[in-house]
């Protein structure tokens, strides 16, 4: 079976700084993966490479067997770590936009989620609070029936209630055949929904293991084990 997400000898340099070094990963369909690492460990760089926003210095990234490009972007649903939706748009305009560009966008699902949120779909993003903007952005991303969801710090900088809403939205809406990669350093919050983890530090993958294996092998939660591995 073709891996949904694969990195082969992937490296990325920014001048003399090595952001990623010889990363080799293979993730099969149907897995929820935590990309866990301290700040500046290379999580966002890896996700940007997978989205074709950066070009590898060495090695390759493959999405369902394709290099990042027009074909791969049609099956990847990406949530960046900042608001990227045009602030002059309202939710209706955003749905029109997503529907025009993504065949896998489920408008009904998006409308239902927006209704549950009690949001006025004619209110512009500019007029919304930061938390609400992030929720709307997440709704758009999770309303796609994508093969790979790349969620960069989806729960960073939000209150605990919003955090629960975001995780619940992710779990309720992703396609079971899809891969979900969640990049975060807030491990205890996401641990329950993860099947697999990737520990990344200083641009290198330190560990790829299933959550069950970590618990059985080390007798610790992922959060506890992470703290032990990355102890300063």
């Amino acid at each position: 079976m073709t891996a949904t997400f694969e990195c082969k000898g992937l490296s990325k340099n920014f001048g003399s700084t090595q952001a990623l070094e010889d990363v080799n990963i293979s993730i099969a369909p149907g897995r929820v993966v935590g990309l866990l690492g301290p700040n500046g460990s290379g999580k966002t760089t890896l996700i940007k490479l997978a989205n074709g926003l950066l070009t590898p210095s060495e090695g390759e990234v493959l999405i369902c067997g394709d290099h990042p490009g027009v074909e791969s972007k049609a099956v990847v649903s990406y949530l960046p770590d900042k608001t990227c939706m045009p602030l002059w748009m309202n939710a209706l305009q955003l749905m029109d936009f997503f529907q025009d560009f993504y065949r896998d966008f489920d408008r009904q699902r998006a409308e239902n989620m927006l209704r549950r949120l009690g949001l006025d779909d004619r209110q512009r993003l500019r007029q919304m609070s930061k938390g609400t903007r992030e929720k709307v952005q997440l709704i758009m991303v999770m309303s796609r029936k994508a093969k790979l969801y790349l969620l960069d710090e989806p729960i960073g900088g939000v209150d605990p209630a919003t955090r629960d809403y975001i995780l619940d939205t992710i779990i309720r809406n992703y396609d079971p055949e899809a891969v979900v990669i969640i990049s975060t350093h807030l491990i205890s919050d996401v641990e329950e929904i993860l099947d697999e983890v990737l520990f990344i530090n200083q641009g290198k993958i330190r560990l790829q293991a299933s959550v069950d294996d970590i618990r059985q092998q080390y007798g610790k939660s992922v959060d506890e084990y992470f703290r032990e591995v990355f102890k300063c």
């Binding site: 940007k48 989205n51 074709g52 926003l53 950066l54 070009t55 027009v70 074909e71 972007k73 049609a74 990847v76 990406y78 960046p80 900042k82 608001t83 990227c84 939706m85 045009p86 002059w88 305009q93 936009f97 025009d100 560009f101 993504y102």
Partner: protein, 276 residues
Amino acid sequence: MLGKLIKHEFKASGRIMGPFILVCLGLSVLAGLSIRGMEAQMDYGWFTVLFGIVMFLFVAGLIAVCIMALVVCIERFRKNLLGDEGYLMFTLPVSVDEHIFAKLIVSSVWFVVTWLVCMLAFVLMFLCNLDMIEVNWSEISYVMDQVWAKLLDFGLLHIIGYILELLALIFAGCCFTCIQFYSAMAIGYSFSNHKLLLSVVFFFVINVALSILQPLLLAVTGNAGLLDFMANSVQNISGPAAVHLVMLGAFLYALVFFVILYIPTRLLLKHRLNLP
């Protein structure tokens, strides 16, 4: 996908350009009416002040709509592709070429629309005072007939050809103007710091380079005998065909410089994208 990008680009830019155009046309009607008022008013007094204000606003409106077309061209590229919105745009299943061309086409259309609006504004102002101006319609009709007869002498196919060539030339000229800004921003924003400042610097660098390259290209093509060939051709072929040749030459000239700037813009957006 290019069509969809263009549609959304028009929506995004139209919400800025639309009100400016409407205000501009509204001011032209007001200016026309105030001229009419000035003509009718025997005692000028306060009306002169009002007339002055309206005319000032009319001229300011025309200038503003032209400036806005340029600002929209630059800002849509900068914010939508090189700012935070770039995370959304560059993860759409769309090629970099489609992104650039969508911006080029929409900006070019706004440039043309702006010129048309400026002309329409003067026509509206004139129409508001039509009954007060003595127009010799029979003379105008006579002149138009003469012009049409002359045009028909050239041949209808030539006329259609000229119109199409002129449109292509205007489009190429607009695209060339836009790509100068886009290439400067693509270079400036590939750096980590002082992106805007570097974009401005590179805009001037590109313009200096172009002012050196353009005569150089003419010299090279001249040495290669191309200009002589064209000059001989113009002498040897019929008048209408010579105009086609000149138009084609001008179009190719604009195209060459467009391509020179398009290639680095494309490469930088594809391989050196440096989103904030």
